[in-house]
């Protein structure tokens, strides 16, 4: 019974990575598809395997790629932190409200997640651009005298990322906090600890798995994010997802794009394994 999904995922999820790995070692070629085969029959009975490490060497010599990697990790870290700062109190508030209010609040958090990401990012263009809603409001209130430049800056990109990924952090965190035994907090307060102390010593450590799972759901995809940096960050924001896209679509450098994908994967796989082990612990109910 599990054979069907198993074979499907093997063929369409695992095998593709092997092919990416293979092509990352190929030469670029002016042909369709634009790369040379790795295996070659030389003469009668000899097979030559030609591994080309130039694509990887290239990534380490041209500083563009390493800067893009470093910047993507930085953006993902800052975004995850921002999502935590905004999302934790929200998840906490939802988990501690009355059951009837809780399901309405939960619905309100999930709803934007169901509407297109592209359209929600687009909404921020209308809010942030020079003659956009925010500038118009600030100008008419007399708070500023000329429009602020917000669109096509890192600021706009962070807003877009936090806005789009916030539900991914809130939901696992809420699922974790919902199972919390709040009597522990009451006990701590009865014993004389202040609310902040009780939060720091009890709620925060107990919600560790929720924090980790939510953070990972933000951090990992944001490292490779493409749409938001392009639409809100403007041409100067260097992100690895965008570099991969441009190598592939604009330069038709499939082997280089594959090498970028492999390095990105090497960077992210440890986090994915961490996420899976957190998920396994969480569903097993141990903390």
């Amino acid at each position: 019974m599990v054979a069907l999904p198993y074979v499907w995922l093997m063929l369409f999820f695992v095998v593709p990575f092997v092919i990416v790995l293979k092509i990352s070692f190929s030469d670029v070629d002016l042909a369709i598809p634009p790369y040379k085969p790795l295996l070659d029959w030389v003469g009668k009975n000899s097979l030559a395997i030609k591994l080309n490490f130039n694509n990887y060497a290239f990534l380490f010599t041209d500083s563009l790629y390493l800067r893009a990697f470093a910047n993507s990790v930085k953006v993902a870290l800052i975004s995850t932190l921002l999502c935590l700062i905004i999302g934790y109190p929200m998840a906490y508030g939802i988990a501690r409200s009355r059951p009837a209010t809780r399901s309405v609040l939960l619905l309100l958090v999930i709803l934007p997640f169901w509407t297109s990401l592209l359209l929600r990012v687009y909404a921020w263009i209308g809010l942030l651009k020079a003659n956009g809603v925010i500038n118009n409001v600030l100008l008419s209130l007399g708070l500023i005298h000329e429009p602020l430049t917000m669109l096509y800056t890192p600021f706009a990109m962070y807003i877009g990322i936090v806005y789009s990924y916030l539900p991914f952090l809130i939901l696992p965190l809420y699922a974790n906090l919902e199972k919390m035994d709040w009597q522990l907090l009451e006990a701590a307060e009865d014993l004389g600890s202040r609310p902040w102390q009780a939060f720091y010593k009890i709620t925060l450590p107990l919600s560790r798995n929720g924090i980790l799972a939510g953070s990972m759901l933000v951090f990992i995809p944001v490292v490779g994010e493409f749409v938001i940096p392009v639409l809100l960050g403007g041409p100067n924001v260097l992100m690895i997802g965008r570099v991969l896209w441009d190598e592939f679509f604009s330069n038709r450098a499939w082997p280089v794009a594959s090498a970028v994908a492999i390095l990105l994967l090497i960077l992210l796989v440890p986090f994915m394994m961490w996420y899976q082990s957190v998920q396994a612990r969480e569903s097993a109910g141990t903390r």
């Binding site: 905004i86 501690r96 297109s116 809603v133 759901l217």
Partner: protein
């Protein structure tokens, strides 16, 4: 249990929800704006429905929307079948060879950056075409296969977590009364986990309907989906028709989610009554 929230938490919650909803509301409001400048309100001629008519006369957007619907429906149906099988296997069979691999393969697509998934699937399709001549070129078929691969992972998670709280006594009772395993699955298990399967179908539909990156890698000429058309328009700047499209999307999604949650609430209540 103490339900009183501190002012700090209440303020955070309200600000957070405002942050989530102000952009959405602004799109709805400006979809009725007469001005082509989109964000400059033209009080003299607004509200107007002219961009709604413009959208419904835009062949490019309508064609793309039709392609997106077709891909999303096939994807959702396929993903539900594959995801239910995987979720059922993972939840019911604690020990089988390849369990760890299957669980890893259904978790990884949830967090995998889309550029990697898109690139790797495209390279697979190209390699397969060279090797066995299938798929001949890229288009709706390759796109649907790509969408199913990541959508089924979401369905697996939903079905798996629903089965984790499933009372297996019902199935055992049916088997004691002589029902064969297949019959038990279709008569007992499937109806009980149906809400999870429905959520999975809707989620898979939405994921496919919204996807830009993986579609761009795996589609071919003449199979541009709605997000691909929207993306190329948005790259050139804001357009009033996109506000209309967003408003319609929000209306449909809100209506659907409210209907489904009311239906599920009613169902749980009826089940509660039946058990009493």
């Amino acid at each position: 249990m103490n339900h009183r929230l501190s002012y700090f938490v209440l303020v955070c919650l309200s600000l957070g929800l405002a942050f989530l909803y102000i952009p959405i509301l602004s799109m709805v409001v400006f979809s009725f704006n007469a001005s082509r400048l989109v964000t400059v309100w033209d009080g003299a001629h607004s509200p107007t429905l002219k961009w709604y008519f413009a959208l419904f006369n835009n062949e490019e957007i309508l064609d793309a929307a039709w392609i997106s619907v077709k891909v999303a429906v096939v994807n959702a149906t396929g993903s539900v079948i594959l995801g239910t099988l995987a979720g059922f296997g993972l939840a019911r069979f604690r020990h089988f060879r390849g369990r760890f691999t299957l669980s890893a393969m259904t978790t990884a697509p949830l967090v995998m950056p889309e550029v990697i998934t898109g690139l790797s699937l495209l390279l697979l399709f190209v390699a397969l075409e060279q090797l066995i001549g299938w798929p001949a070129g890229r288009g709706m078929t390759t796109m649907t296969i790509a969408h199913m691969t990541f959508s089924m992972a979401y369905v697996t998670v939903i079905v798996n977590s629903r089965l984790a709280t499933f009372d297996t006594a019902l199935e055992e009772a049916a088997m004691d009364l002589g029902a064969r395993p297949l019959k038990v699955f279709f008569v007992i298990t499937l109806p009980i986990i149906f809400p999870a399967i429905l959520s999975g179908w809707l989620l898979a539909f939405t994921l496919s309907w919204d996807d830009l990156v993986i579609s761009s890698f795996t589609s071919g000429p003449g199979s541009s989906t709605l997000p691909m058309v929207v993306f190329s328009k948005v790259r050139l700047g804001v357009s009033p028709e996109i506000n209309v499209l967003a408003t319609l999307t929000i209306a449909v999604v809100t209506g659907m989610i409210v209907a489904v949650s009311l239906w599920m609430a009613r169902r749980t209540r009826l089940e509660g009554l039946a058990l009493r």
